[in-house]
Every structure is written in C-alpha cells, then in structure tokens.
Point group: C2
C-alpha cells in the first residue's frame, strides 16, 4: 500500500511535469522522459531486496513545482512559442542516468530517508576533485602567485610559498607580455609557456619538441553547437568534462573533413567526443573494434580490413584516432603495438590522432605510457615522415584540474602551408584562459630533483596514483566476482568497462520500457544504491554485448561500501531476472 | 627607387604567399587578400608625408617563409586536400586590419626601423590589461587565496593579504561543495556566488534579486561554431574578446528563434555579436537606427516603425536588444528614455535583452547608469509583468579581466516552465571556470565601507575610471578638431565612434581596391601610425556615412602621442584626397 501510494504520487508528479513542461517523447534508446525515469521502479516488484529499496524510496517527496504558467500570462514567452528544438532535447541532453541521479540527490536533500542510500556516488565522470581528490600543492602555489604577483617580493611570501613556486611564478610572469595575466594572449598560447611544455615533452620522450607545434586550448562548450548538434549531445553529455580538449579535436576534424566522403577511423568502444565531432563536421566515422577478449587489444589487421571496406565504399579515410590509455576501456597499448599503428598510418597515408590525455594514469607494472611521437621518432620517422597530433588536458592525470580548463595539442608532420591554416583556426578561437595555460605548463614541467617542492610534490603525486591503482584493482576484482560479469584490467586512465551478461528476462524488461538493456541495468543500480555509472551503449559495443563504464575516482575509504552495494544489488538483480 | 624595390619585394612576398597558401579571393567588403594588404601603399604615392612613411616601410623584411610543401611530400595532408571552407576564410576571419597590424608588429620585431612608428597601438579591442591597466588588488588577492587555500590559516598570510580578502576567500570556499575549486559546479554556477551577486544587484538597484535568476557563464568560443558561421566571423573577429558573454546571448537566441520568421530588434550601429548570434540561429535581424545627431539617441517611435514594418512582412518580432552604455557608440541612456523602452517592450510583448556589460563605465557627470531592471521595478512592473534579461561580464568595467573569462546573466519575468528550459540549456553548457565565477561575484560585491581594503580598492577603481574619462575627452576633442570628422561624446563604455566625411577621391580609391571606404581609411591610418581601429562598416551605419571605432584604453601617458600621430595622418590623408 505504501508502495502504491508512492507510485501514485510519483506518477502524478511526473504527469504534472509533462503537462507543465511540454515534454516530448524522444525516441533514441538513451533518451527517456521523466515519467519513465520515475516510474520504472514497478518493473522490479518481486525482489524483496529491491522492495525494501522501493519502500524506502516511497517517502520520495520531491519539492512541488512552483505555481505554473497562468501567473505569467502577461509575459511574452510561452512554452509553445519557444524554439521547439529546445523542447525536444528535454532533459535527455544531460543523460538520463545523470538526470535521475540529480533528482534522487534533491530527494535526499529534502528528506535523507527517501532512498536506501544516503548519498549519490558519481562514478560516471572523470571529475576527481569533486570526489575529494586534493589539488597538487605546487601547482596551486604557482597559480596563486600568478594571480596576485604583488606578493612575490614580500618576505612573508617566502614563509608560506615554496622557493621554487616563487621562482616559477617569476619565470612565468616574465613570459607574459606586460605581465598581463588579465589579457588575451597569442592565439597558440603564451610562447614561454609553450617552451616549458616542450621541455617537458623532451624530458618525457627524449626527442626534441618545437613550441611552434604547441596549441594551447581552452575548454570549448558544446552549448555553442548549433541545433543539429543537439541530437548528438544527447548521447555525450554524461561525460562532458573531458570536452575540455574538444577544441583540439574539433580543429583537426574541421581541417580534415570536407564532406561525408571523408572518413575517420575510430575505436569502438570510444569516448564519444570523436563520433560527436565527426558528425558535427559532416564526416563519416569508420569504426574499428577493440578486442575485449585480449584486454581491449587493437589488431592492426582488423583496422586495415575496416579501412579497406570503407575505401571500397568510396570513403576517403583521412585519419586514425587512437585513445591511449583507453577511454572507456582503460587499456594501455604495448610499444610493439604502437609501432604497428605508426607503420600502418605511414603506409596508408593517415594522420594519427593520438588522444594521450591519460598519459600519467598508468597503474600496472607491466605497462608503461609511450607517446606516439616518441615511438615514431624511435622508429626513425622524422618530422616530415608522419603526421601526428597528440592531445593532452589538465583535467586528467594525477592533477585532475577539471575546473581550470586547460590543455594543449602537439602537431607534427604537417607542411608549413597546412600549419598556417591551423594557426588561422586557432586564431578564430579565443585563447585559453591564462590560468589554464599556466597549469598546462606546470603539469608538463613539474618540480625537479633538487627543487624545494620536489619531495612533497612526488609524495602527493604518488599517493594519488598508487591509490588510484589500488581502487582500480579492488573494483576490478569485485566486478569479476559478480555472476555474469567479466572485467578487463584498468591498466590506465580512470575507468573500468565491465561486460555484463544480462539474462533474457532483463533484456525483455528493458525492451518493455524502451530502454537499452545496459541503461536499464544502470538505472536499476542507481535507484538501488545511489551509484552512478554510464551505460556501455553510449560508447558503442559489439552488438548483443552490454557494458557499463565506472570511474575509479571515489576516495579510497569509500570503495568498500561501493563494492558492497554493487555486489548486493547485482545479486538481487540477477535473482530477479535469471532465466 | 628605394620605394620601388620595396614594393617589388613586397609583391613578391605576397605572391609567394598566395601560391603557397592557396588563398582564394574573397568577395565580402571587409575581406582582403594578403596581396591587397601588403601592396596598398601604392595607392598613396603622392603624399610626401606618406612617402616618408613608405620609404621607411621599405625596409620591411618579413622573415622568409620556411621551405615549402615539397619537403612534406610524404605526409598525407596537402593544401588541396583540406576542407576548402577553411581555406576560404583565409585570414579574413581575424579582421583584415588586425592581420595587417600583426604583420607590421612582426616586421618591427625583426627590424625596429621598418615602419614610421616603433610599436603597434591596439585601439581596436576592449582588452584593457593588454595595454597596461593593472588588475584590482582585492580581486586578485581573493582569487589567489581561492587557488591555494592551504595558506589561509597561516600567520604570514595576514601580513601580505588584506583581512577582508582572507575573510572573503573563506566565505567563498565554504560556498563551494567540498571546497573543490578544481571541479565543475552547478550548471547555473555556484549557488553561494550567485547569492553574493544578488546582494550586489540589490545594493545597485534597491530591488530584490533572486539567485535562481542568475546564470554564471564562461567565455564561449566562436571556434566551435560550425561552418555556416565562418562567413559571419569574418566581420566580427576583430572584437572577439567581448564574446566572453556570447553564451548568454546565444542561449536567449536559441530559446527565442524558431525560424527566419522570428525577428530580434537590434541597434545599428551595434556590436556585431548580436547579428552573428541571430544569423547563427537562423532568425531575422530587425534593425533600428541610433540617431547620431542626438548623441546616438534611441527614438522609441522609430523603433516602433521598424517593428511595424517587420510585422507587416510577417516577421514575429520577439525581443529588443539595447546596449547601454553603447557599443560601439558610447552613449548612456537617460532614465526617461529607458522608461519609454520598458513601456514599449511591455506593450508590444517583447523580451528586453539589456546588454549592460559597461555598467561601471560612465564618464560624464550628467549621466548615470540605471539597470533596466531597476527602471522597470521603479515603474511598478513586477517579476510577472515584463521579461527582462541583463548581461554582465568581468571583462569590462574598471576591472577589465578579459583573461579570466567570467560573466552572468540575470533573467526575470519568465514562467517556471520557460526557466526550466533555460536551465536545461545551461546544463548543456559546461559551467564557467571557477575563477571566472568567483571574479563575477567579486565585481558585483566589492569591498564595503569599513573593510580593510575599502580605501585602496576605491582609490584603484576611481583612478582607472577617472583616467578613462580624461582619455575619452582628450581623444574626443582631438577627433572633433580634425577636418571632416565629428565625434559624439563617449559618455560610457570604452569607445569613440567618430564619423569621417571622406572625400570622393578617397572613396574612389577605396573602390578601386575593393575595400569599404572606412576600412581603407583604417588601413592607411595603421600603415602610417601603427594605430589600430575598427572600420565602422563592421558595426553597421547609415548608408553613405563612414565611421571607425577607437577604444579609449591606451594608458594615459600614451594619449598625446596617439593624438599627434592621428592628427598628422589625417591631415596628410585629406591633403591627398581632398576633392
């Protein structure tokens, strides 16, 4: 009875919302109306465990909406006179699961007893500091000093800032024309900061880097996409933070794609930034599948087959995207595999677009990050032999500065006249915000042996990375212990991408509510545990297989509780739907 | 002879560039190929003054381009295989004048004697700190402390930071969930910062403000515009910095415009952000002209005529844009005029889009800034009577923090179901970078009487504003003293928009090189003096009249030299072209 009352009130609420907001029923598999989000509980009525969750959830007392349109009858803008495209992308743009999570979070705020959990745990996006990760002290010292250079000369500053942060701030300010940290900079970013980034790349790779090859970029907002993009955003919003390096990708796609006859080879599963950007520019995505059975291996022979198939259809394939370490798949490529990829691109005349934003995030002793540039140079390929672009972002690594909005790309192997065009495209863009530029130079050139901050810096860095490695292993083991779940290692990046063998009954139940089976699973998981993950269907997966992506970012002391909740939920779910 | 040699080498250079870069000849009036930019000197061969300039310019030794495509023959991307749209927007996207300025600046770097001036003075964009304006100490103190909160508790901090900056940083950090300044925030921005902004609005207006009405936004990049936008960018790039509040405008246009049958009333001349955004969303710009003869007055009866004309053509006019203080025109609206505008919007059922980003920049004692919200509330119109949006940015005012990328809009008079749609659109966007959000809260709530920083803060602010007022007056007087030039007062904002009565011979000369006459004038000015201004044709102007926009931002000690150069140039130009 209690449950019935809850369902009723929820349905009423959902109904009212539909009337008021004029929600349209979207059709794509990832999209769901609020009524679907709110009333799906009744799909799971027989599990006692879930019933307990549901009866707790019955106290759901979402704050009633304000009084509606009638009071505003004398204002000119009515719900039926706004752009219908805006209405159409109703909520789904934020990702169904994230919307539900935020709804539940509001519930908990109003009444902490409304759900069988006391908080929402966001394992959906790579936003480390939102989950308690602390920023690196040295980086923040330098940013603070650059924000307020007036204190650089003061005696007290030496008492509370490290000597090398003061020195670095002086260096950086000297590199900014007029020391104007409040003004816009060169279109590629401040030259001195690009020099510093190159020093870091050289130290990493052992090969020279040229500041003219560096394009410092800002976070670019999907909000300025024109309407055609909205339908793409639907599938990508859940992971919007990594869009910090969107501009880099966008610029390359804009350069390379002339029509739908131009194709870009992309991994499946893939972080959907690439599919979105290719679609935005009207090109063709040429998929190649990563092999789950070999730890998300990249088989060059397979990529070649896809390339040939595309060519036979008249597609002019222009570039190959490789994400290393992988997102959402977490694998780290072996150097020999990278050599094959470099040769393949060289032989087939493809630009190699290397997403290397997780270069610091490697967790297993048997794997190491090698930049594609280092690999190519080690093979003897010089600047004029292979076209190679490397993407990097300050949002990832051990620093995770998502709020700072910085990143760069290193562009090599393009003729001067092409580079001129790239410079032009960079000029159309606003330069990156100055703090983001400074931070990019810091992550690529952190304190060195002998610097005052060196020990504390390495201690902070190593603590974060080793903790991430432990979290990855614990979650991986927990997932592999679940019935019907297999999970490859998170060798790197910030994610696990387990495969779930869903019983037919679960698939049927999902179909009945017009939801992808993995989205259905993710939604049930969220409702039962407060844990937010991203359904695999948002990344692409072999037809008939189902996955979800889960970050390893919650703080370490929370991991046991997450494992416990996940295990309990999965057992109940399987008990309910087992064939 | 020396001149001839120079011309020849320049033409060769330009020619080589065209061959190498594959420049296409654009057709729009503001667009010019490098060869036009470089070889236009020969249009002015008879002025001895200009000849002197030219002979100096003859030493122009632009660094030769690197060796060309042949070396890169084994790389896959060729100039004729990139997106032709990228080629088409050749340089023009940056504004012809700015491109030429950067070219000259490069020349000066290589050889300081190449031109009759030793530096380029950028009077084209509102980017104050690039010209030496110092940031406000209190704002930077708080930003630094929020970047590095670890020092907040230390004794030394009290020695080098003001007590109120420390207190404010504590307050702000307490408002950020988990004190995570490195994570993303609520889609509308951090709630506590919106509270602070509202307190500032209330203090300014004397009427309540609601934090739910505030949308904190980031700078949005024109670079993510899709291809159709490129042709628009051509005319707008010169002033890209103010695009920091583009997202706000974009969001409103996205909401209101359904098709080309929806129109937005915009002032002419206008800062072209509005025309660009309307075009981007496929709507119709309905122009109304500001009256130069009455100090760029806004005649409501005139606006009404335009509205009726548009309606008679089947255009559904949805909103009125008012820029106050004006850009590029610098006028400040009288309160009585604002009341007429409010009544007009109310009666005609229009949303009032108030660009109030220069609200701090008023320079004349007989004018004062009043927000449209204050005016409307003073008239007795409440929340449910009129739909009103106010745009604000941290890039302007006396603070001029262009590098920080922050701003907000205050949205009132929209029904809850419309507000839900706005929230959704804000959610598609990334939240603003956290420093930008913090700064927006600071500019709207600076130190108060009794705060430790109050005196130094007001001294810094007043010094900047009174200096800007003096600069505006000096430049205005200088312009008005020139033959054939009339210039209205810069009552506010950061610009003068003088009208130049160009002789027919000058207009003919401009036509001969397919350039708008005012662009021709601006180009000659730049070549002769190094002073960069923006041709009026980029803003729209009454047909047959010619203007340019000149900022008042160069530091005060530079103004006499600018006046001197400008006067000397103008005299020579008129001597040459006088009918």
């Amino acid at each position: 009875m209690r449950k019935f009352a809850a369902e009723k009130s929820k349905n009423l609420l959902a109904h009212r919302k539909i009337l008021a907001v004029g929600v349209r029923q979207p059709t794509a598999s990832l999209i769901s109306s609020p009524s679907q989000s709110l009333s799906h509980h009744n799909l799971l009525p027989h599990s006692s465990l879930l019933l307990r969750f549901l009866s707790t959830a019955a106290a759901n007392t979402s704050a009633p909406s304000e009084s509606m349109a009638s009071d505003y009858s004398s204002t000119p803008v009515k719900i039926d006179s706004i752009n219908p495209k805006v209405l159409e992308c109703e909520y789904a743009v934020r990702g169904e699961i994230v919307n539900l999570a935020q709804k539940l979070q509001e519930d908990l705020k109003v009444n902490p007893d409304t759900h069988p959990f006391d908080e929402i745990i966001y394992c959906n996006i790579g936003n480390p500091q939102s989950l308690g990760q602390q920023p690196i002290t040295f980086f923040r010292e330098v940013l603070a000093l650059c924000d307020h250079p007036a204190i650089l000369d003061k005696a007290e500053t030496q008492g509370i800032f490290s000597a090398d942060s003061i020195e670095r701030a002086f260096q950086i300010l000297d590199q900014i024309p007029g020391r104007a940290t409040g003004a816009y900079s060169h279109s590629q970013g401040i030259k001195g900061l690009r020099d510093t980034i190159c020093a870091g790349i050289e130290a990493r790779d052992g090969f020279p880097a040229d500041p003219n090859d560096i394009f410092l970029t800002d976070g670019a907002s999907p909000a300025v996409f024109t309407k055609p993009y909205l339908s793409i955003t639907v599938q990508t919003k859940f992971d919007i933070t990594t869009f910090v390096f969107f501009f880099q990708v966008h610029m390359m796609m804009q350069l390379l794609i002339r029509s739908e006859d131009d194709g870009i080879l992309c991994p499946i599963p893939q972080y959907p930034l690439y599919s979105a950007s290719i679609a935005l520019h009207g090109g063709s995505l040429v998929p190649y599948y990563l092999d789950e059975a070999t730890g998300w291996g990249l088989e060059v022979s397979d990529v070649k087959k896809q390339l040939e198939t595309a060519r036979s259809k008249g597609i002019n394939v222009r570039a190959l995207v490789v994400i290393n370490p992988g997102n959402p798949t977490g694998q780290v490529l072996a150097e020999s595999n990278q050599q094959q990829i470099v040769d393949f691109c060289k032989n087939e005349g493809l630009v190699l677009l290397a997403d290397e934003v997780y270069q610091e995030n490697v967790y297993v002793p048997d794997k190491q990050f090698h930049s594609f540039k280092k690999v190519a140079r080690s093979m003897g390929y010089g600047e004029k032999d292979i076209s190679l672009v490397s993407f990097q972002s300050v949002s990832k690594g051990y620093y995770g500065e998502c709020g700072k909005r910085g990143g760069y790309m290193e562009v090599t192997g393009f003729a001067p006249e092409i580079r001129e065009q790239m410079y032009k495209l960079a000029s159309v863009n606003l330069c990156s915000n100055i703090s983001g530029q400074i931070l990019a130079s810091l992550v690529m050139n952190p304190p060195k042996v002998g610097d005052e901050s060196y020990e504390s810096y390495t201690a902070e860095r190593d603590a974060i990375l080793s903790s991430l490695a432990r979290r990855a292993k614990t979650l991986e083991d927990a997932l592999n212990s679940l019935e019907g779940v297999t999970c490859n290692r998170a060798e790197g990046a910030m994610y696990l991408f387990p495969r779930i063998n869903l019983p037919n009954k679960a698939i049927e139940a999902a179909k009945a509510v017009k939801t992808a089976p993995d989205a259905f699973y993710a939604r049930c998981l969220l409702n039962a545990t407060g844990v937010v993950v991203v359904p695999g269907s948002g990344f692409g997966q072999v037809s008939g297989t189902w996955h979800f992506r889960c970050t390893i970012l919650p703080q370490e002391d929370r991991i046991p509780a997450i494992v416990c909740r996940l295990t309990e939920f999965h057992k109940a779910f399987m008990d309910k739907y087992r064939d």
